[in-house]
Structures are given as C-alpha cells and as structure tokens.
Amino acid sequence: MDCQLDIFFLEAVVNGLLLAGLLALLALGLNLIFGVIDVVWICYAELVMVGMYGINYAYKGGMPFLVAALFGIVLVAIAGALLHFLVIRPVLETPPINQLLVTGGVLFLLQAAATMAFGIEFKNLGIRLGSLNIIDMSFSWSRILAFLFALAGMLALWLFLSRTFIGTAIRAISQDRQIMPLMGVDSRKLYLVTSAIGGGLAGLAAALMVLQYDIYPQIGLQFGPLIFMICVLGGLGNMIGGFVAAFIISQFIAVGSSCFHTEWGYAVAFLFFMVAIFIRPQGLFGSRT
C-alpha cells in the first residue's frame, strides 16, 4: 500500500505508457468503425479473442510467429467484414441502440463458441522474449514491441486514410453519411471495407496481445469495458481523443495497481471516467452535434 516516488513508481509509469500503446490501438479500431458507420461493436474485444485463438493455433500448428500473426490479422479482418455483412447491415436503419445490442448477441455467441471449441483452460504461446533491464527497473520486450507495433499500426492507418483514394472516401463518408451516396459513392462497399480494416486492427492487437497475455474465452470481458471507456472518454469516433484517453486511463491502471490492488486501479479509472463524462459529456476532445 506504500506509494512513494521511487524507482518502482517510475517503472509503473513506464509500464503504463507501454500499455497505453496497445489500448490506443484497440480503441482506434472501434473509433474508426463508430466514426464511419455510427455503430458500436460491443463484441469488439471478442473479435480480438478470436484473433488470439487463431494465432495460437496457427503458431502451434507449425507456422512461424510472423506468418501466424499475419494469419490472425486476416482472420479478424474477415470476421469484421462478416460481422458487418451478416449482423450490422440488416439493422443499419433501425434505432442505434439495436445495433449496439445486436453485437452484444454476437458477444455471447463468440464467447460460447470459443468455450466449446477451445475449452476454458488458459492457453499460452510459450514465447519468452525476456526483458530490458535499466537500473533496477525491468520492462518485458513483449510490451515494448507491442507499444512500437501499435504505434506503427496507427501510423499505417493514418497514411492509408490520408494518402489513398479509398481512405479519402472513408474520411468523407464519416463527415456526412447522407450526402456521399449522392456523390456516387457506394457506401455499402465502404462500410464493408471499414469493417474489415477495423477487424484488421483488432487482429493486429490480438497478435501483440498473445505475446503478453494468456488466452481464455472470457478475456474479452477483461478488455472490452476498458476499450469502450477509452473511446467514450476521447469522444466516440474521435481517433486523436481516443489516443490521448488511452494514455490517461492506462496511467490510472498502472499506477493504481502498483500502489493498491489491481482492481482498485481499474475501479479508480472507471470512477474517473464517469466523473469526466459528467463534466464533459461529449468526451475530452469531442464536439457536440
């Protein structure tokens, strides 16, 4: 329970920063989908779980890790596109809350399917990357790599959205969903592509997470609420906001967990989130419409 400004405190802060990269990547995919399609995938973390299982089995089936990771990214991208095609598209014109709830049904479905197919045991790739030791602090390489790759993934998305034709179209449709179809843009196709990219980002996150965490069917419930909180705190659909919010929330978790029990770090983060939303309902960086 002692909370001093010593070397361990610094270690917690840096670990918080490393966690933030991963959370920012997770929030980015959800924000992209919300910004473009105006839908919240409650089952987003479960897609990550699917990717983690996919990578786990591909790796244990003999693929090198990088190939397995690529396989995971493609797998989740396809899952994202399928989710949009089968589940979201039929309810696109109904009240928004239906779209949120329908993906909640998918959450149950994926969790149960994973339990049945893979069992409830914790699974682990068994890759040990060791850790970087500076003075008395130690940071595991898997976290550092996750942070770097998360940043690289975000940069790649930014380049895609700003430099390519289809990226420009996606940015345009997120600004006005009604007018773009009149300009001759096939919004159905763009939504599908966006869903696939959102899924791909979840797949990338999955590839980074299998190196750090054990896989089990309920892992989505551990990360899901955290991701939603970050997205809402940053302003749903606001990618920069989500990025900053990820750093704020992860500091609460990392420092809180190092000073108290793990749950209290999370609990304080959720409390902070609720209070922050009451003060700025549109999120820290959102603009009200």
């Binding site: 919300f34 919240v40 589940v87 039929p90 309810v91 109904t94 009240p95 928004p96 809350i97 239906n98 949120l100 709830l101 329908v102 909640g104 049904g105 998918v106 959450l107 149950f108 479905l109 994926l110 969790q111 149960a112 399917a113 339990t115 049945m116 069992g119 409830i120 069917p217 419930l221 899901g224 609420p225 939603f228 909180m229 997205c231 809402v232 749903l236 029990h261 749950e263 209290w264 999370y266 609990a267 959720f270 409390l271 989130f273 609720m274 939303i277 009451f278 309902p281």
Partner: protein, 350 residues
C-alpha cells in the same frame, strides 16, 4: 389512481400461477424440488427483467442494472454477515443505496443529455465499477469466489429472512414479488409519467417545450427501476444463499437482463416474464439434453454447457434483427391483426 380493476381473465391467470406448485406437487412429486426451483428462478428473474423494462421501454437502454442487483444483494448480505442487521432493515438500506447510486449517475446523464450509445456505455462503466469494488473488497465479499449469507438456525427464519429449504414458501415469496412487479408496471403504464416519458423518448426538445420536465421524469423512472432491481437482487441472494460478482453483478448479467427482456418484449406487461420463461427453459432444456447425450458430452466435455449461451446469443441476434418487439409483442401484434382481419371479413359477409 382509482385502483386497478381486475378482469376475470386476470384473476384466473393469477390463480393459475399461484396454483402451479400444487400442480407440480400433485403430478411430479418425485422431482418437486427441481421444478419448483425452476419456477422460482423464472419468477425472480421476471421481476428483475420487469424492473429493467420500465426504463428500457422509454429508450433508456441501461447496461447498469447488473450494478443495482449487485448492490442489492451484497449490501444486504454484508450488513447481515458483519453487522448482524436483519435483512428486514438490510434490504431497505440496500434498495435505498442502489436508488441513490441510480439517481447520482442518472442525474448528470439526463441533465446533460447523455443518451443512446453514450448512456449505454456509461452505465456499462457503472456496472464494471461496482463489480471491481465487490472483487476489491475481498476481505468482506470473498472476492471473485463470492460468499454466502450466514445461515441462521436451520435455514428457515423470519428474522433472518431465510427460506431456501422450504421451496413452497420460496415460491410464494417469489410469486408475491412477481405480482408486485406487474403491479408497478401497470401503475406506470396508466400514469401521466408514462406519456411524458414516451414523448421524451421520441423527441426530447418537443417534450420539453410542452412543459415536461424531462430530467425529473427520467430520474423518477430510473429510481423506480434501480430500486426494483436491487430488491430483486437482494431476494435472489436470500433464496440462492450464495452471491458471486459474476452471478449477481457484472457486465454478463447486465447483458442477460437486457436481452431476456428484449426477447420477451419490453413494450408489453408480460413480455419480461415471457423472456424469463424462455431463457430459463432454454437453458434448462439444453442442460438436460447435454447431460443425457453421450455424443455431445464426448465431443465437447464439460464445455458443452456453453451450448445454451451459444444458442442464446444466436437467437438474440435473430430476435433483434427480425423480431425487435420480442416474442410476446410480436405474437400479440399478429393476434390483433388476425382479429381485425376476421372482423373485417365478418362485416363484409354481412
């Protein structure tokens, strides 16, 4: 309110539900305990689902009701276990606490117009917060393993409000609660508040412009709804004699409440009850089928028990896409259409 006039059909229906345990005792004496347990669960969950749908039907889709059931259950049990305070005082305290939390979270939401996705995700954060507090206070609550109310005597006591060994008694307590839930629903349905909330859910500005205090109306229904869920959670704890952060609180439970209510139909009185019957019977049937089938067991082992969740999830997706009014809502609409068509052809024939 001049009191509800009871139609003969209503009285017969209530009597039929009241007589159910006697039917079970007469026809299925061997497995009486099991069937009564199923019926008790259905009634208790119906009460909680009805409490949720009070809010849900007015467009306030809360994922925070797992927090209220959790507060109701844990506050009651903690007061009993550690302060020796009887649930007769503990339950009102727990319900009051949940109501205060509901209003505290609701007020800024309604005042600043946090609605739709934001409202759902904010209440989701409340659920997580309460669950984390329960797990974090593990010295008292037993953490994620859960805990039990301290047994008083032989387990049946008016003072400790414990009735688990006597299933008949438990059934009539659950029955009383269920009737109370329906009564509250009808009172709300017949009140002016209902029209105000309906108007606000369709167009908040228009409703406010004709003099409806939208924030106050919404707070009233939130307080009522969270109080009902807390009461339901507390009685559930007294019946189960076990509470765990995932069985009576948490996101999974919140989603279960929302989906069961929607599956039954949130716009009709008995919709949540139908939802409870549907989900409980589905889960139990699948459990029995799986335990009876060697093939399924051989294929999936103990994880075959997730099959009900799988089918449940699939059905929910289908319900929301094809039957957003729920089982009962859709059936009633179909019945009314048919009756209208028959009346029309009858007139044409004459």
């Amino acid at each position: 309110m001049t009191g509800l006039r009871l139609k003969p059909a209503t009285i017969i229906g209530l009597l039929a539900v009241a007589a159910l345990p006697l039917v079970v005792r007469y026809f299925l004496p061997a497995s009486e305990k099991y069937y009564l347990h199923l019926l008790i669960q259905i009634l208790l969950w119906s009460f909680i689902y009805t409490g949720w749908s009070l809010m849900g039907r007015f467009g306030l889709t809360s994922l925070g009701h797992g927090a209220f059931t959790g507060i109701g259950a844990y506050a009651t049990v903690m007061l009993w276990n550690f302060a020796g305070i009887t649930p007769w005082i503990g339950i009102p305290v727990a319900v009051a606490l949940a109501t205060v939390v509901g209003v505290l979270v609701g007020y800024p939401c309604f005042r600043f117009r946090i609605a739709g996705h934001y409202f759902a995700l904010l209440t989701l954060a409340l659920t997580e917060f309460v669950r984390l507090c329960i797990v974090g206070l593990r010295d008292f609550t037993g953490g994620s393993l859960g805990t039990q109310p301290r047994r008083y005597g032989d387990g049946i006591s008016l003072y400790a409000l414990q009735f688990e060994p006597d299933r008949m008694l438990a059934y009539y307590i659950a029955f009383g609660l269920w009737v109370l839930g329906l009564y509250v629903w009808l009172r709300v349905d017949g009140s002016m508040d209902r029209y105000a909330l309906d108007a606000a859910s369709q167009d908040e500005d228009a409703a406010a412009s004709v003099g409806i205090n939208v924030t106050r109306e919404r707070l009233k229904i939130t307080a009522l709804s969270s109080a009902m869920c807390a009461l339901g959670g507390a009685i559930f704890a007294q019946y189960q004699m076990y509470i765990g952060p995932d069985t009576i609180a948490g996101l999974g439970l919140s989603l279960n409440i929302v989906f069961a209510a929607i599956a039954g139909g949130i716009w009709v009185l008995l919709g949540p009850t139908v939802g409870a019957v549907f989900t409980q019977v589905l889960a139990e049937t699948l459990r029995v089928v799986i335990q009876g089938s060697a093939t399924l067991k051989g294929m999936f082992g103990s994880s075959a028990l997730a099959l009900d969740q799988l089918i449940y999830g699939l059905l929910l997706v289908l319900f929301i896409i094809y039957m957003p009014n729920g089982i009962l809502g859709t059936t009633m609409a179909w019945w009314r259409r048919r009756a209208a068509a028959r009346a029309a052809t009858g007139r044409a024939g004459n």
